[in-house]
C-alpha cells in the first residue's frame, strides 16, 4: 500500500504540536451464550450454525439480557474504578447494514452501566500514566460479511457477499477513554501501554481471552493535534480496527506525523474514519463524516432497565483480582529482576507460566531461565504462543528440580525438555527412555578419563606442570566420549587425582 501523504518527521511534529488521543476499545465477552439470546458463542463454528430467531432479527423475536454479560460489565467497570449506574437502559442505535440483523444495534447511549473511571498504565521505563475512562457500556456485536470476487476482500468490486450471523449478538463491552492529553511525544507509547494494560486486566478478570488477533479485542484510535499551548482540541481522525499492540502505537505515530504535515502546510484535517495498513504502518481515508452520523438513538422498548443492586456491586468489588500492574510490580520484586527484564517476561506472555512453575516448586530464577530461554526460543521457532507449547509448568518445575539435585546438567535438561516437547512423556519418562542421567560413577568414568589422558599427553603434561586450567580440554574429551552424560565436576576431580595435582 503506497501513500501519497507527506509526513513530518516525528520530532518536528511534536515540536510544534500537542497530540490529543481518544481510545475506544471493544471487548468481546467470553460468555457461554449471546447477549440477548441463548445461542452458543463458540469460535470457528460453521457459518450460521449458532443463530436463532432473536439474533437473526426474525419478525416477532425479542431480546432477553444475559445476566453474566451484565456482571462482566460491572466487574470491568469496577476494575476501571468507574461509578456503576444504579439504573440504566439499553438504547437502539439505528443504521442499515446487511450484517446487522435488526438494522439497529442494541447498545447503550446516554446511560452507560459504568462511567468516570481511570486506568493507570506503566510505560517501559516504569513511569506511570493515568488514562481517564469516560464510560464502559454494553452492546452486541454484528454478524460478519465476506465480500467475494473483489480484489481486496472489500465490498468495492465484489460480485457477491456472504453473511455469517454467528457473531451477531455476541456481547461486547465498549470502553471509551476521556481525551488523553499531556502525553506529548509519548502519546503512541501511552496508547500501546493502555491497550496492553486493558488486555491484561480483561484477562485477569476472566471475562474474555481478549485475543486481539482473533478480534476479541478491537481498538479505534482517535487522534487530533493542537498547536502547543492551545487549549482547544483540533479536528480528529478516527482510525478504525487497529488490532495489535504494535499497530496501536504505529497508527498513533503515523497520524501525528500526517496531521502535522497537513496542519503545518496550512491545510485542515478532515473529520473522517481511516483504515490502518499493517504492511507499511500507514492509514488511508475511509468514510468522510460530512455531518455527524444520525443514529436516532432512543431507549430500547423491548428491554427493561438494568438496575444492579448496590450490595451485589459491592460483592463483586470484593472479588476483583489484583490489578495486573500491581501484580507485575509485586512479582518483579519477588523475582528480583529489573523493570526491563519484567517487560520482556510480559512481552513473551510468560508471567503466568513462571508463576505456575514456581508454584510447582521451582525457584523463580530457574523458572524464568527455562521459559525465557530454551522455551521462548522454541515458541519463537514454531511461531506459537509460549503457553501453547506442549509442556506444563509442572514439567518445567520437575526439570529444574532434577538439575538442582544434580541428576541433570544443563545440556541433559535441554534434551529432556526437547523430549517432553516431542511428546515422549513426562520429564522422568524422557530421562528414563533416553538414558539421560548424569554419570558420576567413578568406575564407569575411570576408563574414559584414562583414555583422555592417554590420548592427550601434551595436555596432561601441562596439567602436571601446574596449569590446572588446561584440565578443561580433558574434561571436554571425556564429556564427548560419554555423550555429555558425565558429571563434569567429578570428571575434573578424577583427572587431577590421576595426574597427582591438587585441584
Amino acid at each position: 500500500m503506497t501513500t501519497v501523504t507527506d509526513l513530518v518527521p516525528y520530532e518536528d511534529a511534536l515540536a510544534s504540536f500537542d497530540p490529543v488521543m481518544g481510545l475506544e476499545v471493544h471487548v468481546e465477552l467470553g460468555t457461554r451464550t449471546k447477549m440477548f439470546c441463548g445461542c452458543a458463542t463458540e469460535l470457528g463454528a460453521d457459518p450460521n450454525s449458532q443463530v436463532c430467531p432473536t439474533c437473526l432479527g426474525l419478525p416477532g423475536a425479542l431480546p432477553v439480557v444475559n445476566a453474566t454479560g451484565v456482571e462482566s460489565a460491572v466487574r470491568i467497570g469496577l476494575a476501571l474504578h468507574c461509578e456503576i449506574a444504579e439504573w440504566c437502559r439499553f438504547a437502539r442505535k439505528n443504521y442499515f447494514y446487511p450484517d446487522m440483523p435488526k438494522n439497529f444495534q442494541t447498545s447503550q447511549y446516554d446511560e452507560p452501566i459504568a462511567y468516570n473511571g481511570y486506568l493507570d498504565v506503566q510505560l517501559e521505563d516504569g513511569e506511570v500514566f493515568r488514562v481517564e475512562i469516560e464510560r464502559a457500556h454494553m452492546e452486541e456485536d454484528t454478524g460478519k460479511s465476506t465480500h467475494v470476487g473483489g480484489a481486496t476482500g472489500r465490498i468495492h468490486g465484489a460480485s457477491h457477499s456472504l453473511l455469517d450471523y454467528n457473531r451477531a449478538g455476541i456481547p461486547l463491552i465498549e470502553i471509551v477513554t476521556k481525551p488523553i492529553v499531556g502525553a506529548g511525544e509519548r502519546a503512541p507509547e501511552v496508547a500501546k501501554a493502555y491497550v496492553a494494560e486493558l488486555r491484561e486486566l480483561i484477562k485477569a478478570l476472566g471475562v474474555s481471552e481478549a485475543r486481539m488477533e482473533m478480534g476479541q479485542m478491537r481498538c479505534d484510535v482517535n487522534l487530533s493535534l493542537r498547536p502547543s499551548g492551545e487549549e482547544r482540541f483540533g479536528t480528529r481522525s478516527e482510525t478504525k480496527n487497529v488490532n495489535s499492540l504494535r499497530s496501536v502505537e504505529r497508527a498513533a505515530r503515523y497520524e501525528i506525523q500526517r496531521h502535522a504535515a497537513v496542519l503545518s502546510s496550512g491545510g485542515a484535517i478532515v473529520q473522517e474514519t481511516r483504515h490502518f495498513h499493517e504492511d507499511d504502518g500507514s492509514t488511508t481515508s475511509g468514510r468522510v463524516k460530512e455531518e455527524a452520523e444520525d443514529y436516532r438513538y432512543f431507549p430500547e422498548p423491548d428491554l427493561v432497565p438494568v438496575a444492579p443492586p448496590k450490595e451485589w456491586v459491592e460483592e463483586l468489588r470484593g472479588t476483583l483480582p489484583e490489578l495486573p500492574r500491581l501484580r507485575r510490580n509485586r512479582l518483579r520484586e519477588e523475582w528480583g529482576i529489573t523493570q526491563h527484564e519484567m517487560q520482556s517476561v510480559l512481552n513473551a506472555g510468560a508471567v503466568d507460566l513462571i508463576v505456575a512453575t514456581t508454584e510447582a516448586g521451582a525457584d523463580a530464577p530457574s523458572a524464568r531461565k527455562w521459559w525465557m530461554g530454551e522455551l521462548a526460543r522454541r515458541a519463537n521457532e514454531d511461531g506459537v504462543d509460549l503457553a501453547a507449547l506442549p509442556i506444563t509448568p509442572a514439567d518445567v518445575a520437575r526439570v529444574a528440580a532434577l538439575v538442582a539435585e544434580g541428576s541433570l546438567n544443563d545440556k541433559l535438561a535441554r534434551q529432556t525438555i526437547e523430549g517432553v516437547l516431542a511428546g515422549e512423556g513426562t520429564p522422568d519418562e524422557v530421562v528414563e527412555k533416553r538414558g539421560l542421567k548424569v554419570v558420576s560413577d567413578d568406575g564407569a568414568l575411570g576408563a574414559a578419563v584414562d583414555e583422555a589422558i592417554a590420548g592427550n599427553p601434551a595436555v596432561a603434561d601441562k596439567i602436571r606442570g601446574g596449569k590446572v586450567a588446561a584440565a578443561g580440554a580433558l574434561v571436554g574429551a571425556v564429556m564427548k566420549a560419554t555423550r555429555g552424560q558425565a558429571d563434569a565436576a567429578r570428571v575434573k576431580e578424577l583427572i587431577l587425582e590421576r595426574l597427582g595435582v591438587e585441584g
Binding site: 430467531p53 437473526l56 432479527g57 426474525l58 419478525p59 416477532g60 423475536a61 425479542l62 431480546p63 432477553v64 439480557v65 437502539r92 439505528n94 442499515f96 446487511p98 440483523p101 435488526k102 438494522n103 439497529f104 460480485s159 457477499s161 453473511l163 455527524a292 444520525d294 436516532r296 438513538y297 432512543f298 422498548p301 423491548d302 428491554l303 427493561v304
Partner: protein
C-alpha cells in the same frame, strides 16, 4: 338447543366436546364449512389452515378417547391475527414484504394456544403491520363488516373481529397498539380486550410499536374472552417486558359479574365534536344502566387525553421506524432487484419501496424524522412527557373511581373507502382507546346497542387500572347480562344473515 356448532359460544363448545356431545373434528369442520360459505364475501382470513386445524382437532378427540384431561378450551376453533408467527404456516402481517414467509418458530401466544388444544383455523386479515383502523391498509384487500359488507370492520384487527361476527370462529386473537382490538370489536358488535401491558407475551408478535403493542382475546361473549385471556396470559421468560405476577382470575370475574357499589368514572373529554349522536346516545344509556345496576357514576376530567392522539402519532411511528428496519430483503420475505446489477443498498430500497404500503411508509418517515437529532426532544421527547401526563391523569382518576367508561370509538362502522385519503379522520377512530395504550392499563370493548341512525353496533369501553384486568370482566359480565335481559338475545343476532 341449536345444533349448528358455529352458533355456540366457546364455553358451550368446550363443554359439549368434553361431554362427547360433539367431536372437535365436527366443530372444526362446521367452522371450516362456514368459512368456505361466507369468507369470499367477508374476507376475514388471509390463510385458512384446513389440514393443520383438522389435525389439531383429531388430536383433541384422541386425547378425549384416551381419557386424558382436556383444557377449558380444548377443541374450540380460533382465528389468529396474522401478526403472530406460526411455525410452518405463512405469516404476512398484512404486508407484501412478508408475502410467502413461513416462520420457523411459534409465537408464545401460538404455542400456548396449541398447548391448550385450541384449534387454530387460520390467520386473519389486518391493516399492514397493524397500522390502521379499517383493515383497508391490508396489502391483500379489505375485510367487510358482517353487519354491512360495504363498511369497514375496524382495524387493525378487522379480520379477527369480522370472523367472530360472521360466525366463522367463536374465538379470535387480536393485538392492540392504539385500539386495534377494541375498535373492531365495537364496530362489529363483539367483545375485545386489551390486557394490561405485559400481560400477554409479545414474543413472536411482529412488532409495530413495542412499548404500546399488546395481544389480547376477542370473542362474542365476555366469558369466552375471559377463558381465552387465561389461556394466553402470564409471564414469559422470552419477553423481558412481560409481567412476572400471577394472572388475575378473569374467568371467576366473568362468571360473577357485578357492578354493585362500583364507582364509575365518565371522562368529560371523551365527547363533543366528531362523536356520532347515536353513539353518544347509546353510551349515555349504558351509563344509566350502570347506575340502575348499583354503580355510582362520577364525572372526571383527564385534560391530557386531548393530547393523546398527537403523542401517540409520534411514539408509535418512532418505534415502528426502528422495528421495521429489519425488513431489508437480506434474510427473509420479498426481495426486489436482486439481478446482479443492483447493490445491496439498492435491493433494500427497491424492496421496501415495493413491499411497504403507503401508510407504513408514512409512519416510517414520520418516526425517522421524529427521532432525528435536533428534533428528538421536540417530538419524541415531548410525546414521552405527554405519555407521563396521561398515566398520571389515569392514576388520579383511579383514586376516585374503580373503572372509567367511554364510547369505544366516536362513530359506528364507516363505509369502505371513506377515510382512506384522510389519515387524520382515520386516526380519530382511536381517540378514546389509545390513552390506555400510552398508560399501559387494561381495557375492554363490549356491545351497548345499535345506533338509531344507521342500525350499526356501538361499543362501550371499560378501562381498569394496570393489573386489574379481572375488574373489566366483572363489570363487563354484569353489563352484558343486563343488556341480554333487555334485548332478549345477543346483539349479534340482529345482524343480517350473510
Amino acid at each position: 338447543m341449536t345444533t349448528d356448532p358455529t352458533r355456540l359460544t366457546a364455553a358451550e363448545l368446550a363443554a359439549r366436546i368434553a361431554d362427547g356431545e360433539l367431536t372437535a373434528v365436527e366443530v372444526t369442520e362446521a367452522h371450516l364449512a362456514r368459512i368456505g360459505a361466507v369468507d369470499e364475501k367477508v374476507h376475514a382470513f388471509l390463510h385458512v389452515d384446513r389440514e393443520g386445524a383438522l389435525a389439531q382437532a383429531r388430536a383433541v378427540d384422541a386425547k378425549r378417547e384416551r381419557g386424558e384431561p382436556l383444557g377449558p378450551l380444548a377443541g374450540v376453533p380460533l382465528a389468529l391475527k396474522d401478526i403472530f408467527t406460526t411455525q410452518g404456516v405463512p405469516t404476512t402481517v398484512g404486508s407484501k414484504i412478508l408475502e410467502g414467509w413461513i416462520p420457523p418458530y411459534d409465537a408464545t401466544v401460538t404455542r400456548r394456544l396449541k398447548d391448550a388444544d385450541v384449534v387454530i383455523l387460520g390467520k386473519t386479515n389486518m391493516d399492514e403491520f397493524a397500522m390502521g383502523s379499517s383493515t383497508e391498509n391490508s396489502a391483500f384487500g379489505p375485510t367487510g363488516n358482517p353487519w354491512d359488507l360495504t363498511r369497514v370492520p375496524g382495524g387493525s384487527g378487522g379480520g379477527s373481529a369480522a370472523s367472530l361476527a360472521a360466525y366463522e370462529a367463536p374465538l379470535a386473537i387480536g393485538t392492540d397498539t392504539g385500539g386495534s382490538i377494541r375498535q373492531p370489536a365495537a364496530v362489529t358488535g363483539t367483545v375485545g380486550v386489551k390486557p394490561t401491558y405485559g400481560g400477554v407475551s409479545r414474543y413472536g408478535m411482529v412488532a409495530f410499536s413495542s412499548s404500546l403493542d399488546q395481544g389480547g382475546p376477542c370473542a362474542r361473549t365476555v366469558l369466552d374472552a375471559a377463558l381465552l385471556h387465561s389461556v394466553i396470559a402470564g409471564h414469559d421468560a422470552l419477553d423481558s417486558t412481560s409481567i412476572d405476577q400471577p394472572v388475575p382470575d378473569v374467568v371467576e370475574a366473568a362468571r360473577n359479574g357485578s357492578v354493585e357499589g362500583l364507582r364509575v368514572g365518565v371522562v368529560k373529554e371523551f365527547r363533543g365534536e366528531g362523536y356520532q349522536a347515536g353513539v353518544v346516545q347509546r353510551f349515555d344509556e349504558a351509563v344509566g344502566l350502570l347506575r340502575e345496576l348499583g354503580a355510582e357514576v362520577v364525572e372526571i376530567s383527564c385534560p391530557s387525553f386531548t393530547k393523546g392522539l398527537a403523542a401517540y402519532y409520534l411514539i408509535a411511528p418512532s418505534e415502528c421506524s426502528s422495528n421495521l428496519a429489519r425488513f431489508d430483503a437480506m434474510r427473509y420475505g420479498l426481495r426486489v432487484g436482486d439481478d446482479g446489477a443492483h447493490s445491496a443498498e439498492e435491493v433494500t430500497a427497491l424492496t421496501r419501496e415495493a413491499g411497504f404500503g403507503d401508510e407504513v411508509k408514512r409512519r416510517v418517515m414520520l418516526g425517522t424524522y421524529a427521532l432525528s437529532s435536533g428534533y428528538y426532544d421536540a417530538y419524541y421527547g415531548s410525546a414521552q412527557k405527554v405519555r407521563t401526563l396521561i398515566t398520571r391523569d389515569f392514576e388520579k382518576a383511579f383514586e376516585q373511581v374503580d373503572v372509567v367508561v367511554s364510547p369505544t370509538t366516536p362513530t359506528t362502522a364507516f363505509p369502505i373507502g371513506e377515510r382512506v385519503d384522510d389519515p387524520m379522520a382515520m386516526y380519530l377512530a382511536d381517540v378514546c382507546t389509545l390513552p390506555s395504550n400510552l398508560a399501559g392499563n387494561a381495557a375492554m370493548s363490549l356491545p351497548c346497542g345499535l345506533a338509531p341512525e344507521d342500525g350499526l353496533p356501538v361499543g362501550l369501553q371499560i378501562i381498569a387500572p394496570a393489573l386489574a384486568d379481572d375488574r373489566l370482566y366483572r363489570v363487563g359480565a354484569a353489563v352484558e347480562a343486563a343488556y341480554q335481559a333487555r334485548w332478549g338475545h345477543p346483539l349479534l343476532e340482529e345482524a343480517p344473515s350473510l
